[in-house]
């Protein structure tokens, strides 16, 4: 029984001391209402996320495994990648001489957009210069978007 009592004592102290003492002891909280126990980890901004992934795919000697791993992980996230990340990935495919993966990436992001049918045309529009430069045909061009 006594260990349990010891466990609860500090919690009781926290709750009775109230909000004010918490802000005094923890200077990183700016607003009095922020006495929630959020993690202190820094939240990555969208730009940082994009930059990180662009850098990942921009590695000059990226190998096939890294491309696959990166792409599969990226598709696993709850988002549609920005055109600049896809551009970087497509160029990685070019360095690896892998056209099939390039087309697959385009299919995957279209599928990832789900019901939001306006995302994919936007991506293709943004990627158009890269697609033309590298000679990547979209799945629509190849007739692979229909059964």
């Amino acid at each position: 029984f006594s260990p349990v009592g010891k466990m609860f004592r500090p919690v009781v102290r926290l709750s009775t001391s109230g909000v004010r003492s918490l802000t005094r002891t923890r200077p990183c909280y700016s607003a009095p209402l922020a006495s929630r126990c959020y993690s202190h980890a820094k939240v990555e901004t969208d730009e940082e996320f994009d930059a990180r992934w662009v850098t990942y795919f921009s590695k000059p000697d990226i190998d096939a495994w890294e491309l696959k791993k990166g792409m599969n992980t990226l598709i696993g996230y709850d988002l549609v990648p920005e055109p600049k990340i896809l551009d970087s990935a497509l160029r990685a495919c070019r360095r690896l001489n892998d056209l099939a993966s390039a087309i697959r990436i385009l299919e995957a992001v279209k599928d990832k957009s789900g019901p939001h049918k306006d995302i994919y045309p936007y991506l293709i529009q943004e990627l158009q210069p890269t697609l033309i430069e590298l000679g990547i045909s979209t799945p629509e061009d190849l007739g692979m978007d229909i059964l």
Partner: protein, 175 residues
């Protein structure tokens, strides 16, 4: 000791065979039919929406034509024709995303099967009704029910909210 070894051997040769039941289909599609493909401990090809790039390409043993195409892939892709691009895609991937997402007509088979069995059960129930069940008791005949109803009215069954309540004793008819 001996039995477990025999069991393992039996498992290896005989048990895993059902996994290759579609082997003819797979061979037609150019999938590797070596025991390697049936070995789950080795990277496999799979069609998954959430894994766009699979661990291994769909077709691994390339014939000379395909190898030439792969060589051409190392050059500018602008020089590839549409058919070549499609061929390259199909070498690495078995199914496109729309093909993966395609549904099947299996539900029709299932529903049809369900109805067949329901119908069959209905047939059995009907046969049973005719050939197994005896006659209905005479107390359910129209004549009897008429006399019964009259008796119930005369006895004032449930006069407040039930049976006799609905009979108009003045006009001698149902309300």
């Amino acid at each position: 000791m001996l039995t477990s070894r025999a069991l393992v051997r039996g498992l290896k040769s005989g048990f895993w065979r059902p996994l290759s039941s579609t082997s003819s289909v797979q061979a037609a599609h150019g999938k590797d039919m070596s025991p390697d493909v049936l070995d789950p401990s080795v990277p496999q090809y799979n069609n998954r929406l959430d894994t766009p790039l699979s661990d291994v390409p769909f077709v691994r043993n390339l014939n000379s034509e395909q190898r030439q195409l792969k060589e051409k892939e190392k050059g500018p892709w602008t020089k590839l024709t549409k058919e070549e691009k499609i061929a390259l895609y199909r070498l690495t991937h078995e199914l496109t995303y729309p093909e993966m997402r395609r549904g099947s007509s299996e539900w029709k088979t299932v529903l049809g099967g369900v109805f067949i069995f329901l119908g069959f059960s209905g047939m059995l129930v009907w046969w049973q009704r005719i050939y197994v069940f005896g006659e209905v008791p005479h107390t359910l005949s129209d004549e009897w029910v008429e006399k019964q109803t009259q008796r119930m009215i005369d006895m004032r069954i449930n006069p407040v909210g039930g049976f006799a309540y609905h009979w108009d004793y003045v006009k001698k008819q149902w309300k």
